[in-house]
Symmetry: C2
Subunit: 235 residues, 2 copies
Amino acid sequence: MSAEKNLTGVRRSRPRGTADGKDKATARDELRTAILAGEYMPGERLVEAQLIERFGVSRFNIRLALQDLAGEGLVEIQRNRGAHVRKISLAETIEITQVRMVLEGLVAAQAADRVTEAEASELDEIGLLMRRAVEAGEFRRYSDLNQRLHGLIRKIGAHATADRLIGTLRAQLARHQFMLSLLPGRPAVSLPQHERIITAIRDRDPAAAETAMREHIASVVEVLRSLEDTPAAHG
Amino acid sequence: MSAEKNLTGVRRSRPRGTADGKDKATARDELRTAILAGEYMPGERLVEAQLIERFGVSRFNIRLALQDLAGEGLVEIQRNRGAHVRKISLAETIEITQVRMVLEGLVAAQAADRVTEAEASELDEIGLLMRRAVEAGEFRRYSDLNQRLHGLIRKIGAHATADRLIGTLRAQLARHQFMLSLLPGRPAVSLPQHERIITAIRDRDPAAAETAMREHIASVVEVLRSLEDTPAAHG
DNA sequence: GTTCGCACGATTGTCAACAATCAGTTTCCT
DNA sequence: AGGAAACTGATTGTTGACAATCGTGCGAAC
């Protein structure tokens, strides 16, 4: 048998399949998940040694992961001072949401151009579930459906460049995002907006889809602006 | 005398500012400039050893610089295969330009909200110079003014988040950008578009400013779409 | 009691050697 | 000859050690 041809190498761990680097990528993803889950609070220091211990990755890869997350705007690296979870001000939250508004508007318009019958049905179904969730007062479920709807629209729009940017922007807002949908009266306002978006895309009306999406997110911006005067809302 | 005092309080050679001390940031900036200047063609391999020799920076910093530029979408790093200048397809160029369209539209709208008298005059002046440049057939000058106009609008709009994204997107298109403004008949088409943008901002009309900016860049998208059928336009 | 300077510990930045991997070529067997 | 396994040179990935830097606590001078 040719068992011996193997003995020169230590076991090569076969970088399986799609193989983006294993270590750096996993470290980055796990750290991002941890930050988004709130395990590290904004402003908190990310000490390399601690991350090494927690994720079991070499310092080199931890460093690369931090570098990547800095590029995504999730952490901030100051020379000789290490990495912190980036703190995002309310003003910046508004800016980011504005950018999301125009990007998701673009994607919605393109989705209206490309939507198939099957996808239209899926949209309708989500719309129905949303209505039921609101009527039943299931806000958490509504929030999930909200994400699913936006995700489906992004899938239909198939705009890789916009998708990537929206993804990083959403990540930056992950914490605030959650807060918003729980504001009193919010679902009652946003449900009809969502339904308008769905209708426009189903009707293959790009302009209407973009307008509806923008109005929807613009109303979020308005809520954020109203918070600018009530500074207690930060925590 | 007390010579030993010196060894702790050693004078830092203050690599602080823009001294010739080559670090990661300078390496990154110089490499980016080189790529944008066309010294490395799309798809060309960026061998670390060569970059070390060219920029006189350690491999470590070269590596970090490449990593950064990968984050900006200028180079692509494949594991164990090194870094290449990222090739941007025509389809992707269209996507990027679409994103630029909505982002610069957003910035233009905000610029119309915030423009001061002095800035309005500056806009008018650029508009005048543009008209003269077109009439005189000075296309290169027109192209420069074009960039200056868009830059001024970004400055007036003061939308940090959108600005940053627009910057990286523009960098990705740097090569094509240049080509576009030299297409026959392009200035004649874009000049009135620019003038409409300027007028709308000067009149403090955000909606009109956004519309004008979007129409302007949409026409660029149309040109790009028309190229999709004439594959010879790639080189 | 306060302030300034200074050494110290903790943490990050950098480097050079080592290991792994890839692309191209050679060799060997059929 | 033809194709696959195996070498070779070049290039990239990773590790551990070392240097630079920052924040802090102690002590001396006033």
